[in-house]
Subunit: 325 residues, 2 copies
DNA sequence: TTGTAAGCGTTATCAT
DNA sequence: ATGATAACGCTTACAA
């Protein structure tokens, strides 16, 4: 900046002002400063700015995985909103291990973000403590709790499981299978499903825990195992994601099983392809864009406004009935 | 750090040393320093560290979209490798507009990243200039060129299109259709395909430009349009992504068209589901993990070693023949 | 093994 | 409208 100042015949401070608040600088010097910037290819150092102003315009974001559309669509909406307001996203994948998340949180906090976004409400005690101590807005996504670190935006996974179980019971099924990838929130949905379904129908519930990232192939495998291990060829299958459901449907068709008459299949997430699969998937719809968008809004109002928004935001879900169940 | 020093009975510098190079500090003071850190919940300020050391341990990454598995799988591999070596990823989505990418590059550079990763080899002249001026390693991904900004890791999209056309001709097709989402690299593949296919077979090539993000629904729509607008019910369809190919296959099955006898379908990317779709997709396979991984390695050796790796890295592609063509 | 001093490139504060 | 000066919280010499 000092060099730009010399070129433009002003001091370093004036250059700083020209960039951060042009209204405080005369149009003539403004022009000379921009010319000098153009010539030199000067790019201001945001590290120095953040250090002294204590505002980094950086938002830390932690997701289990970036390749799952479930998270990436949410991060996309979140990031878009944040970028529009002049913030950048420092993104890390944490996997599912709490200690990895804790480490990532420390790393993020060392960059002094203006706010943090976390996935889920399940964190290590130390992570909570450090986050609280950081004194910045924090939003937890995808789930709700009575005691968020600061803010949370999501929906009740227990309620989602109950809704799926009620649908299964209402549509006359007395056998059900649960197929999931083993993540914490999916487990809560399936536990709620199992309890409610047994309660209402007295029927049997079997379960396949794939313990692997959800994929079409894993979905096909799940149905094969369901048939091989449990002789499950009639009933409703509740999958922890649409991708798994799509795999189950594909495998069922290959085997000549009729959907939904013989096998009813429910997914979760209402991803783009859900409506276009043949037969179209019945699923629990979650608005992932709204999730990211609302989280961004809530953080922004905390960062800039003071507080405003309430701290527990339940976005709910809806059951979309299509052809597969 | 000064406060930690006071608690541990040492100076601020010793605390700094304890954190950056523990071997330079006696085990006893090291212990006292860590106790003090534990008590206070101190998190070092990486902004200050980066400012003076001129090393941010930050890598800027620019992708068109994070929700496309094509890019997210690559970024995942890239980020994993970088994190393992102590770097964090500043990620931005740039869409397809060059001016947006340019703006994002400026923003990233202001944070003084130790290196930058860009998608594609097509950038604005100003972007090139600024990047060059930044004096940091830059890697361009997904494509190769004789004149990269610094490094490039990818493969020839022209060659990929030729390979697909040769396959189509070799398997006896004399009509072909191209379905694509309109992105720059897909256009280069389809242009190469069209030219080679016409040259070899003299046959007709029709084209659908969806001008929308690739999706299952768009793939179904594409086949509907192909049939409606061109009466295309026999021949080979080369799609710019597996997702579109999957949509075409789904629509074909719904309409009772036989694959591959009547309609042969080729995808691009060899995504996870490609092998599990029914019928399994014939596609051009690109190793997205290797792409990210090699890009990270190349940058790392430039950052830390000096130079080492050669600057144009062609990872190639392969044609995977399955059932759909 | 530890400490002192200088300075990284900005913004904030107070003058002019 | 502009400038001088003092931080911000670290790392890097250099010294003890």
């Amino acid at each position: 900046m000092a060099a730009i100042g010399r070129l433009a015949g002003v001091s370093q401070v004036t250059v700083s002002r020209a960039l951060s608040d042009p209204s405080k600088v005369s149009t003539d010097t403004l022009r000379r400063i921009h010319e000098a910037i153009e010539q030199t290819g000067f790019v201001p150092n945001a590290l120095a700015g953040a250090l002294v102003s204590r505002k980094s315009r950086l938002i830390g974001a932690l997701v289990p995985s970036i390749t799952s559309i479930v998270y990436s669509a949410m991060v996309q909406a979140f990031g878009e909103r944040m970028r529009a307001r002049g913030y950048q996203i420092l993104l890390s994948e944490t996997g599912t291990a709490l200690e990895d998340e804790e480490r990532a949180i420390m790393l993020h906090l060392s960059r002094r973000p203006d706010a943090m976004m976390l996935t889920g409400i399940h964190h290590s005690p130390k992570a909570r403590k450090i986050l609280l101590g950081a004194g910045i807005p924090v939003v937890e996504l995808w789930d709700i709790t009575e005691s968020p670190i600061d803010l949370c935006v999501g929906f009740s996974h227990g309620a989602a499981g109950l809704a799926a179980a009620d649908f299964a019971a209402d549509t006359g099924h007395d056998r059900a299978a649960l197929v999931h990838a083993g993540d914490e929130r999916a487990l809560r949905r399936k536990d709620a499903f199992a309890e409610r379904f047994r309660q209402r129908t007295g029927g049997n519930v079997v379960e396949i825990n794939l313990n692997a990232p959800a994929s079409l192939g894993q979905g096909r495998l799940a149905l094969s195992r369901l048939i091989g291990e449990f002789g499950f060829e009639k009933g409703l299958i509740f999958c922890s994601s649409d991708l798994l459901a799509h795999g189950v449907v594909t495998e069922a068709q290959t085997r000549g099983l009729r959907i939904p008459q013989q096998l009813a299949v429910m997914g979760f997430g209402d991803q783009e392809f859900a409506a276009h699969v043949e037969p179209a998937l019945t699923t629990l719809s979650v608005d992932r864009e709204a999730l990211g968008w609302r989280a961004a809004e809530a953080l922004l109002s905390r960062i800039e406004g003071g507080q405003a928004d309430r701290s527990i935001i339940d976005l709910g879900f809806s059951l979309v009935r299509r052809k597969s169940a």
